[in-house]
Amino acid sequence: MKKLLILGAGTAGTIIANKMARKLPAKEWSIQIVDQDPLHYYQPGFLFMPFGVYSEKDVVKPKSRFLSQKVDLVMGAIDRIDPEANKVLLEGGSKLDYDLLVVATGATPRPEETEGMEGEDWGRDVHEFYTFEGAGKLARRLKHWRGGRLVINVAEMPIKCPVAPLEFAFLADWWLSKNGLRDKTEVQYVTPLSGAFTKPVATERLQHMLSDRRIHVETDFAIGSVDNSNKRIVSWDDRTVGYDLLVTVPTNMGSDAIERSGLGDELNFVPTNKETLQAEAYENIFVIGDAADVPASKAGSVAHFEAEILEENLLAAAAGKDLEARFDGHSNCFVETGFGKGMLIDFNYETEPLPGTFPFAKVGPMPLLAESRMNHWGKLMFRHVYWHALLKGWPLGFGSAMSLKGKRVDLLKQPELAHVG
């Protein structure tokens, strides 16, 4: 009997486990998945918690409910991978062996990476919304908000869901307006990037939407420290931005188990072939989702599209064949823009987000890179799709490869800028 071992039962690990349970012959292969947390979090929902749109019960359910009966869920913390011995060591000493390994250990926010971020103000006037606890705390803080300087800061790239901090700014503008606090609140968006987003055409549109909402954007700001006593953030080149409430997206890093295994880069992400999803260092190790260093967004949609490619390549590897499936970096994100509207962006390694319609040319029905109510409903509906279809690894009706259908490719004035990087 051979074994496929999957590390991490988050979005990526759960999808690939369920897919492989349907495809790998049960007489020859067993599937085991390891995680330390019995709960599955709908991470896109964290964004809505601070504004009371979702409550805690909307975004958390038991992990076991979403895994196929054929998958053995092992609860435990991973100590390290021993790739030479084809074994994974758990904390407490037990060992799991594997023939094929899938690393799906994700990424987590690390406030401790920035000096002073976990100081006096942490959890009081300095918050994050990338964890279940953090989003809940921020919701309670906003209940007592009466106005002042609200600063939204991204510490360092790459982060999970690079549009989330922008969405937070848009939703804050909506929520403050609704509660009669917008005129009493100065909103600033402080980013280490040279613009609002990473891709040029989308950046232009988003920049416009931010200025329409009177949100000031401070670019090229690489945070060096949080100065709690003077309530300000300080960049490495000594610029300062004062805050009454700081909502930060801390540095995101891969699992410490990856570092202990010697398999990670400087942020504990695993060097991975961006097309085949095979780890650069070992032939029988594959990587999916946020844990990989591939130049795609760290997002659930990417994990979903990667899973279709990885399924084929794992089957090929199990049969001793060449890896033929190639991931194109496809990412598809709903961007909530406030006031019951949303925007949709669709892109890959080669093509940046463009305006147009999705998934069909002209008829859409969803407009790309433009605000609409349809996209907002799409985003809210997606929570149900996530729990009931996406995690189970069912196809969602369009293939994994990005399509240029319906996209305004004429806007690619500088195609070389459309490339990632």
Binding site: D220, D265, G421
Partner: protein, 105 residues
């Protein structure tokens, strides 16, 4: 891509003003590019960073992120910003004659 004269040599640059071929680089080119970036002169510490960038590019095909640079070159972040004010990763890559580092998605 466009070509122009730098320190008496014809050098090719991409649209964001990064050198296309890192082998066209030498000390005179570095000094001239540094001036374009507003640096009056280059000292030993600048060269520690520039050499680390070029070595990383040779080995990995892309320049390092700031995090890797400060972790492995022995130049702390604060000093890096003092040496190359503004956007050090981009500025230092430009002066080191390597393409714009990947890594921002």
């Amino acid at each position: 891509m466009k070509e122009r004269e730098v320190a008496g040599k014809v050098v090719a640059f991409d649209d964001e003003n990064f050198m296309v071929n890192y082998k066209d680089w030498d000390l005179d080119v570095a000094t001239a590019l540094a001036e374009e970036e507003g640096l009056q002169s280059l000292n030993d510490r600048h060269f520690t960073v520039l050499e680390f960038l070029r070595r990383t590019y040779e080995e990995k095909g892309t320049g390092p992120t700031i995090r890797r640079l400060t972790k492995e070159s022995g130049v702390p972040t604060k000093e890096l910003y003092a040496l190359f004010p503004g956007a050090p990763a981009k500025k230092a890559a430009r002066i080191a004659g390597i393409p714009k580092p990947k890594g921002c998605i």
